[in-house]
Every structure is written in C-alpha cells, then in structure tokens.
C-alpha cells in the first residue's frame, strides 16, 4: 500500500510532469515514525488537498516539501529531476513557497510592508537603506490587481483587517516572487464561511495561472471537496486513499481518514 505512488494511474494529467513529486518519504523524530513511505505530487494548475487525522503525517509531509524537515529517505523530484531540499531556502530557490497557518504577518505593518518584508528595495548606502516605497507600492498594486484583490487597502496596518483579507495578503506575499508551487497550511482554519469562499476563489485564480497548490486542511466538508481538484488521504504516516474532489462527498473522505474504507484508491 505504501510505495505505490509511482505506479498510480495518472491519466488525468496525460503524461505531463508533476511540478513536485515526493515519493516513499520516510521520516523519524526520535522514536516516532512520522512518515512511513508517504507520497504526494502536484501538477501545474492543480490544487491538491492533504487530509488526515491529527498525527497522520500531512503536516510533516508538507514540511518536508517546504524544506523545514529533511526526509530520512525517499525521492524528492522537482519537474521530474531529483533535487536536494534540506532547508527552507532550498525550497524557495526552486520556487516553492509556503503560507503558514499563523500567516507570518506583522500586524503593525501595512500590506505593502508585509508583502515585501525582507525583500525591500532600498536606496544607495548613503541614504542609510531608505526603502523605495513608491516602487514597492506599484508592484504591490499590480500583484493584487492580478489576484483580483485590487481594492485591498495598501496603507492600513494588516492588524486592522479581517481574517480573510489577512489570509489573502499572506497568499499574495507567497506569490510575489512568482513561485511554481504554493503550500497552504490550514488556509481557512480561522475564517468565516464567506471569507473562506473568498480565499478559495483566490486559490483557484492562482491555479488557473498555472501554479501548483498543496493545501493541508481539516475543513473537509466545505472547503476541501469544493475548492480542490484532488484529495490525498493520509493515516499513520502513509497514503491510504486518493480521490478526485468532484467525485466524492465529505463523508467518503472522512471515512477514509478514520479508517472505514481502508486501502480504497479511487483516483484516475
């Protein structure tokens, strides 16, 4: 059941190469065997959901993808080629960005400052590192307009914004450097139903532009089955089922999560 990822039917993708493919990943934390041959892959324009109970290994798996944890063994392929991803900067260098659940925003800074934090354009040395605010603002406006977030305020502190707006800014920050893959950790966890819908339509907009999206979520019934393309179910550190989102109900996914449907593989 574990090492089947490579053989899994891929008819939906007609032979295109996955952007990222993790195969047969093993990971120990001391005596804890967190990942026992887990696999996941994401194609351009595809939204993949990783679901599972607490401790199933989905967070560990995306952290391996993001370079936060290095895998003990297993294959990490980027656009079909094996790569070494052992720290977060390795992943970002490849074009893999992560939006953490806490969003990693500074609530006292505005949208532009948050979008560019750590990547500001500054003037020459004698200006003492004066930030080229106007340039950043123009680029921020372009980016947000492309994401259909054109009317988001650029000058209010993000702490004064709604949860949905903050989530959108965090996502915008992740695609500032035009990555190929974005990993979203619980993007709708703290959001109202309507805000979650806003976020899922934003994620769809990004996927339509060719981005691969990996989402870790507990929000099966509303978010996962409606807003994603494929659902990978994990349990005890390994993949137990794979669904096409449009073919399943939330109950089926939950069943697979808790073990009611062991070994079922409905993909393809």
């Amino acid at each position: 059941m574990t090492a089947l990822a490579a053989e899994r039917p891929l008819s939906a993708h007609n032979g295109t190469t996955p952007l990222v493919s993790l195969r047969n990943i093993q990971k120990h934390f001391g005596s804890l065997h967190a990942l026992r041959g887990a696999s996941v892959e994401v194609y351009p324009g595809e939204i993949v959901a990783l679901v599972g109970d607490n401790g199933a290994g989905k967070s560990t798996l995306v952290k391996v993808m993001a370079g936060v944890h290095a895998a003990d063994s297993g294959e990490y392929l980027f656009e079909g080629k094996p790569v070494q991803v052992r720290k977060p900067t390795d992943a970002t260098a490849l074009g893999i960005q992560t939006v953490y659940q806490d969003l990693s925003l500074c609530s006292n800074l505005d949208a532009v400052q948050n979008l560019f934090l750590g990547r500001e354009r500054t003037g020459s040395w004698w200006s003492g590192g004066r930030i080229r605010r106007a340039e950043c603002e123009v680029r921020a406006r372009e980016l947000l307009t492309r994401m259909r977030l054109g009317n988001l305020s650029l000058t209010r502190p993000v702490g004064a914004m709604s949860g949905g707006q903050r989530q959108n800014i965090a996502i915008a920050r992740s695609i500032l450097e035009t990555p190929k893959v974005v990993i979203l950790d619980e993007p709708t966890a703290a959001l109202s139903h309507s805000a979650a819908e806003g976020v899922s339509s934003l994620i769809r907009t990004l996927a339509d532009q060719g981005l691969g999206v990996v989402i870790v979520s507990h929000d099966i019934h509303h978010f996962v089955v409606n807003a994603t393309d494929r659902i990978e179910v994990m349990r005890l550190g390994t993949n137990v089922a794979s669904f096409k989102s449009k073919d399943v109900t939330g109950e089926q996914v939950v069943n697979a999560m808790v073990g009611g449907n062991e070994g079922v593989n409905l993909a393809g």
Binding site: S107, G164, G198
Partner: protein, 402 residues
C-alpha cells in the same frame, strides 16, 4: 469579500473615521492636548512659566531624559527593555571624566570614546539576551547594578571629578544665537522639505498620485511654523542651547531611521512578530543588537551632556545607584509618549512629547514652590493616566493602535 470586485487601482484613500485616525495618524493628539493643558495650568499659576527664559530652561532640562528615552525606544520597539541605560550613562561619563582629568585626554577623543563604549555595553547585553536566552529585563537589571558598582570603584576618593576648564562644560554653555539660530532652523527645514519632495517625486515617477496639500504643503508648513515658534522663543532668551540642537538632530535622524529605512522597518517587524521576521529572512539577533547598541550609545551621549550641565561627575551620575529617577523618568517618558512595552509600536515624537510632559511637570511645580515629593506623585499618576487614555481610546473606537 473583496476579491471578486474591482480591477482598477484607485490611488484615493478611503475616508477614515475619527476613531481610526486617533489610533493611527492622530495617536499623539491626546498627549499634545495634555501637554497644552499642563502649559495653560502652569501659565495661569505662575507669571514666570511662559517667559522665554523659563521655556528655554524647560527644554534644556528635558533633553537628558528625552535623549535617554529616544535611545530606549529602539529597544522597546523590538520588545526588549534595557534597565542599564542609566548605569551606562553614569559609568561612561565617569570614564570620560577619568580619561580627561587623570590622563589628560582631549574631550574630542574622550567623548566619542564614551559613546562607543556605551554602544559596546549595549551590544554585549543584546548578545547575552539573544544567544543565552536570558530575558533582557534580567540581563540589564544585573548589568546595571554591576556597572553602578564599577562606577563607584572608578571614582577617586573625593567621589567626584570636576570638569571645569576641560572643554566639556562648553557643551552646556554654548548657545546658537541670532542669525545662526535661524540659519540652523532653515537647514533643518530644507533637509526635511528635500526628503518630502523626493518622496513625492518618486511617487510621481512611479505613476502614483499624492495629494499636494496633504502630503507636501501641510507637513512642510507645519514643520516651519513649529520650528519658527520654538526658535523665536529661544532666540528671545539666549539662542538655541547646543544641547537642545543635539536633541533636535537626534530626533530628526531617529525619525528618518524609523520611518524611511529598512532597519527602522525591521525594528517594528521584529517587535511585532519575531517569528515572521525570521521567516522573512531578517537577522533578528543583529537587529536587536543594533537596537541595544543605539540605546547604549545614546545613553552615553546623554551622560556627557549631564556631566557638562553639572560641571562634573560623581556618585550621582547616571541617576545614582540603581538609576534613580533618571532611569524611571526615561522609561516613563517613552511610555507616556506612546511607545508600547510589548514591542512594535511607537513613533519618534514619543521621546520628545514624553520628555516635555515630565519636564513641564517638574519645571512648573518647581515654579509653584511645590516640593519634590509632589512632583514624583504627579509624574507617576500622569504615566498611568497617559497609558489609560490610550487603552480607553482603543476600547471606545474598536481600533487597535499600531
């Protein structure tokens, strides 16, 4: 939800409510009103209060605490605290005096050395905080006491170094008067206007509009009027005291650093969300070290000024053992001015406004012949009141201040 609407990018800002303004651009309003009220009260009680001689005095009296608060602000912004600034103030000024009096060094060497030494002490406590992981409260409390002891050891048996005729006393005695006073104001305004205009020019080049009245005329005119009033008052007495000019320049450089530079932005980011800052690639330990170094260096400079005003150093330098009122008033000034102890919040004018409030209370009560005890009580109550008003505004408007 915003994201299905609109595509055009309106450069117009939406009109903001008064509550929102109070928690952002007008955050200093309550404290300014308080300061004016204090001024009116003391003016009504004493004929002397509003004389240019007294106002000039008030400004000079406020500089040491103001400069200390300005440096401390950098540390408070990154969510740390430095309780050793008063001790740094003391020990660096004693060292400076020792070098000048006992070893015959020129003040031109001793003063910069004192400032560098203060910065070095600050950066050492930052290293201890970031590498060992001991809270800055503990590190700097202990360091402050240790430096107090060292200060006593460094003093001669007479417990005092006199600094008359060494050149140091001239810092406090120098006044920039007449045409030079106005010229220095002009330089200040031109530099400020240059910064404002270059910002607007850049925005224009980038295709962004900015309202001319609001973002160009108003700030420059306000700066010019405010500066002219201050200089007029000071010129009517003896001119701009050099120490006031030093404080003004520090405020200018500090304001530019906090508002416009990458380092300034990183201070706010680290203080608000250290983990996010680290994930964004900011070298958090280095930013903190710089903040502590600035606080230490600036405290040493305040120590030099204090030594110059009192014509010597001794046990009393740096507020005496434990930092005394110097330490407490420096922290109070920053907090009254609106700097948060929880990091990431506060603007440069906090140091000025806070120091002016404390200076006004002390100066005004002094004129009324009120005892020192009352001054402490009033200052303490004002501190609690200022922070309470801030909290009440936050609660009433529902806008958290940043």
């Amino acid at each position: 939800m915003a994201n299905t609407l609109t595509v055009d990018a309106p450069a117009r800002r939406p009109r903001r409510s008064f509550g929102e303004l109070l928690s952002s651009d007008l955050r200093a309003l309550p404290i300014v009103i308080g300061l004016v009220a204090l001024g009116i009260f003391f003016a009504s009680q004493s004929d002397v209060f509003l004389t240019s001689r007294n106002l000039s005095n008030l400004l000079v009296q406020s500089t040491v605490v103001g400069i200390m608060a300005l440096g401390l602000m950098f540390v408070l912004l990154v969510k740390e605290i430095d309780l050793s600034i008063a001790a740094i103030n003391g020990i660096t000024s004693v060292l400076m005096a020792k070098f000048i009096v006992e070893f015959g060094f020129s003040p031109l060497i001793a003063v910069p050395a004192a400032i560098l030494f203060g910065a070095a002490i600050g950066s050492c406590s930052a290293r201890w905080v970031t590498f060992v992981g001991v809270p800055s409260f503990v590190v700097t409390l202990g360091l402050g006491l240790a430096l107090n002891g060292l200060q006593l050891i460094l003093l001669p048996p007479t417990a005092r170094y006199g600094l008359q005729q060494t050149g140091i006393e001239r810092i406090a005695l120098t006044n920039i008067s007449g045409v030079w006073a106005w010229l220095s104001l002009l330089v200040g305004i031109v530099v400020y206007a240059g910064l404002v205009l270059s910002d607007v020019a850049r925005r224009k080049r980038a295709g962004l509009q900015s309202p001319v009245i609001q973002s160009v005329v108003l700030p420059i005119a306000a700066a010019a009027v405010f500066g002219s009033v201050v200089v007029a008052i000071l010129a009517a007495h003896q001119g701009i005291p050099l120490v006031v000019l030093i404080f003004a320049m520090l405020l200018g450089v500090g304001g530019y650093t906090l508002n416009s530079t990458q380092f300034g932005l990183y201070l706010y980011a680290v203080g608000n969300n250290e983990e996010a800052a680290r994930r964004a690639g900011i070298k958090v330990a280095r930013i903190k070290m710089a903040a502590f170094a600035i606080a230490g260096g600036v405290a040493a400079l305040a120590g030099v000024i204090a030594a110059s005003r009192t014509l010597g150093v001794g046990v009393f330098s740096g507020g005496g053992v434990g930092g005394g009122t110097l330490l407490l008033e420096s922290i109070a000034a920053a907090v009254i001015g609106g700097v948060s102890l929880f990091g990431g919040r506060g603007s440069i004018h906090a140091a000025l406004l806070g120091a002016l409030v404390i200076g006004t209370v002390s100066n005004g009560l002094n004129l009324l012949g009120v005892e020192n005890e009352v001054r402490l009580i009033v200052t303490g109550l004002l501190l609690v009141l200022a922070v309470s008003i801030d909290k009440l505004i936050e609660r009433a408007t529902g806008h958290q201040s940043f």
